[in-house]
């Protein structure tokens, strides 16, 4: 099967508008009899479902949480990018497009990224109209801040809770359609398989998590908005329930998986404190606007941070990357932190942390405030007090969260941070229409591979989720559904539904019948360690080969020795976890295979064998300027298809933030 990305012809900046004026439409009367299933209720899912329902489609939405408002988009902190140029600092659609492609280390598809940049402004308009309370200036206009990898201020935010506010906006729109009877919501339901008929996606099998019943649901199209798979590493900033199951089931039913090895390790997370740790907490990238990252110049320096004089501190990001300083992209910042810690300069009890210090920002803001208040000779204490107030206004909730978790006060001592798994750029391969290789099955938001290449820039995930849901899928789905207006709803006693349900039931029974000795978490922690050590921030061929074997071994042990208490006919969180881990155990192998196959370093994928003399990622554009799209060929068997990446509007260059 050959891959066709279906990129519209014509000049880059006109592709999307030309496409929109020519795409096939479904007339409003026909939309009423067309059913769409949306799986996942985060930014992509809620926005897609609400918009499709507004257009008149019959929509069903599924989420595993108790309410659609809980989806993990809610935890995004820093902001959302948009090329509004409200700050008059030279921003434009082209610049956002360019920054995103460069930030992705030239491994994303030009046409998709340009469309993303084009609709970015509409997202802000839509959210404000919905009542999303973005931060504002005293004049009543919207406020912006900077994020990593860019030199303009284009990030819109709502304190450190931007994801929450955007998701609640989309959730409001979703609930409005639910209230009007145009969307049927299925909370505490988990999709466990896709149903395909004559090669097209025609529905799903979902498990009611309260009763354990398996349900069959028909849809003319199935839209997956199920997020990323960072939890394959066990410890990540993802929610405990975040999983790959829906995407993986789709993969096994024919959807190719794109770039599975591209994982984003976020540089500023609270370090691991012990074996009991269940998840890691992010400290927003926005903190790098004001925080300065450093380690002591001396190895094994055990003095408290405040007692290390200025000239004995190594502000290594400012030293290595003077042009971008502390605001280099995430992959670069993470690797630099790892490098310092591996060399023995790390801080804290574990020595696997670096400082993120706000002392100079507090003083800087304090002086500005003192000037505003016409204090001519403020004492240092006055300056610090004034400065702390500004920092509190900007980052208060993050500082509180840090203190809550670590027991240390970041207003007084620098934060200790270390990189952690945060986001997965890889995901289901989709064409320009966001359709997977299974006709009628779409993937939106983090669960597709499309826009971020090998590294995602900060404040771009929210942008992509909402772009896909509000402004892309409503057009592109029409192109497919216009051919489906004569397809009546297929009854769910169709053999394909029966077969799919039976295979789901068999797998559940198989899991329940293992009756082994160890809990699901026992295996998940083991898997996480292998993935973090051998397929994490730095990878090499030897380690990846070992990892593949180790993953296979853990998978075998899991199926022989997992213990799931209770039964399948009741509310059973351990069974849910087991099903998800079983899928992670299959995905993990593919991630390692993909990482081993890609003999270059790019973005979040850093192969130790391929680096410049200065330790930067060394791409191989001659041999690897393609998307790896993997086809499932049976257990542990995957076939590679390549989508060449052609850059007509950007000159590919060695990424430099110096």
């Amino acid at each position: 099967m050959s891959l066709d990305a279906k990129i519209p012809p014509g000049e880059l900046s006109k592709k999307w508008s030309d496409y929109k004026s020519k795409v096939h439409l479904v007339n409003p009367a026909n939309r009423r009899s067309i059913e769409v299933i949306v799986v996942g209720s985060g930014l992509a899912g809620s926005s897609a479902a609400a918009t499709l329902a507004e257009m008149g489609y019959k929509v069903k939405v599924f989420c595993f949480q108790d309410s659609p408002r809980r989806a993990h988009s809610i935890a995004a902190q820093g902001g959302i990018n948009a090329a509004k140029n409200y700050q008059n600092d030279g921003d434009s659609v082209y610049r956002l497009f360019y920054d995103t492609v460069k930030g992705g280390d030239y491994r994303s598809r030009e046409a998709n990224v340009h469309r993303l940049a084009e609709v970015s402004g509409n997202i802000i308009d839509q959210c404000v109209a919905q009542g999303v309370p973005f931060a504002r200036e005293y004049g009543g206009l919207l406020s912006n801040r900077s994020f990593g990898g860019v030199q303009v201020q284009r990030t819109f935010y709502a304190a450190g809770q931007t994801g929450q506010q955007l998701l609640l906006g989309a959730y409001s729109a979703l609930e409005r359609q639910i209230g009007m009877g145009k969307i049927k919501m299925y909370s505490r339901h988990e999709m466990l398989d896709v149903v395909t008929i004559d090669g097209k996606a025609r529905g799903i099998i979902a498990r009611n998590l309260i009763t354990g019943e398996l349900e069959r649901h028909f849809g003319h199209a199935v839209v997956l908005c199920t997020g990323g798979y960072g939890n394959v590493f066990y410890l990540s900033t993802n929610a405990m329930g975040s999983n790959v199951t829906a995407a993986w089931k789709a993969h096994k039913k024919g959807a190719f998986f794109g770039n599975p090895c591209y994982t984003q390790i976020h540089p500023t997370c609270i370090p691991v404190s012990g074996d009991h740790q269940s998840k890691l907490t992010l400290m927003s990238e926005s903190l790098r606007n004001d925080g300065r990252i450093w380690v002591p110049k001396k190895k094994d320096d055990n003095r408290p941070a405040n007692q290390i004089p200025e000239d004995e501190r190594d502000y290594y990001l400012e030293r290595r990357y003077p042009a971008f300083g502390n605001l280099v992209p995430r992959d670069v910042a993470s690797r630099a932190a790892k490098e310092r810690c591996d060399e023995g300069y790390g801080v804290g009890a574990s020595k696997m942390a670096v400082y993120l210090d706000f002392a100079s920002a507090i003083k800087r803001y304090g002086k500005i405030e003192a000037n505003k208040h016409h204090l001519d000779n403020p004492t240092e204490a006055e300056v610090i007090t004034l400065g702390k107030e500004i920092i509190k206004e900007k980052y208060g909730n993050l500082f509180d969260m840090y203190k809550q978790i670590t027991g240390e006060d970041p207003y007084e001592v620098p934060m200790r941070i270390y990189p952690a798994v945060h986001y997965t750029m890889g995901g289901l391969w989709v064409d320009y229409n966001l359709m997977t290789t299974v006709p009628g099955m779409y993937a939106l938001g983090e669960c597709n591979f499309s826009d971020h290449g090998a590294n995602r820039l900060g404040a771009s995930a929210l942008m992509q989720g909402l772009a896909d849901g509000y402004f892309v899928i409503p057009y592109t789905i029409g192109d497919y559904l216009s051919g489906e207006i004569r397809t009546p709803a297929i009854p769910t006693d169709h053999q394909a539904f029966v077969d799919a349900e039976n295979s789901v039931r068999e797998r559940i029974e198989k899991l329940m019948n293992v009756k082994g000795k160890h809990s699901v978490d026992h295996f998940h922690k083991k898997l996480g360690k292998v993935m973090w050590n051998k397929c994490g921030m730095a990878r090499n061929a030897q380690g990846l080969k070992e990892a593949i074997e180790e993953v296979q071994q853990i998978r075998e042990e899991f199926w022989k020795d997992v213990r799931i208490p209770g039964s399948a006919d009741e509310f059973n969180p351990e069974l849910e976890k087991a099903g998800r881990l079983a899928d992670f155990l299959e995905l993990a192998e593919l991630m390692c295979i993909d990482a081993l196959d890609r003999n270059e370093s790019c973005g979040g994928h850093f192969r130790e064998e391929y680096q410049t003399e200065e330790g930067e990622a060394l791409r191989d554009d001659e041999n690897f300027a393609f998307v790896s799209a993997w086809e499932f060929k049976g257990d542990g068997n995957f076939e590679l298809h390549k989508e060449p990446l052609v850059y007509e509007n950007i000159k590919i260059a060695q990424r430099s933030y110096k």
Binding site: R70, Y86, D125, V128, L141, A159, Q164, A239, S519, D521
Partner: protein
Amino acid sequence: MKLKLKVWRQQNSQSEGGFQTYDVDDISPDMSFLEMFDVLNERLINEGGDPIAFDHDCREGICGMCSMYINGRPHGPNRGVTTCQLHMRSFHDGESIVVEPWRASSFPVVKDLVVDRSAFDRIIAAGGFISVNTGNAQDANSIPIGKDIADSSFEAAACIGCGACVAACPNSSAALFTSAKISQLNQLPQGQPERYRRTLDMVHQMDKEGFGGCSNTGACEYECPKEISIENIARMNRDYIKASLCKD
């Protein structure tokens, strides 16, 4: 640390529940409260027992899923903190801790510490939105909003919908939750066209779901992990009275 836990166990919504006592040891003060439950559950599984069901997801205090009633207080002893952000350093060695689910007839128990909060979704579906279809919006900066109003709206919008307010209230009132959404939208210029209809519809839905009335005890504000202010209830009541008087 060693602790004695008294935990509410209930098989499902139909069955009767009761407390069971567990001794846990080897608890580090750096663990979160939920990680302490992870340790206990791991042990229960290894012993062939039934682990305790509890709701949780993001574990960073924002999704609103975790919901434990600890020593008679929603989300435990600290103010402005969700259960998942509560750490064991807030307890002392040898302490007895009582853990229950949210208690309210509008939040039926699903299992153990897990309750059904879908009533909250239905309150939002009744009017917790601004009716603006995708694609209809004007340029974002064409609606200037004073910083004080934007900030006040944001403070109300910070509600995570966990239901601690209902659990804390002697009347099991959902006034704080409902008013937070009303207050977020009713303060904004975009929210004005539907202001009074929204207030009436959401309050009626709240009553229909069986939540009790507000009698100004203030327990909700005190226990809210996001410290949502009861000023929002005052705003809601003001708009509700106006809406009721002005109606036709």
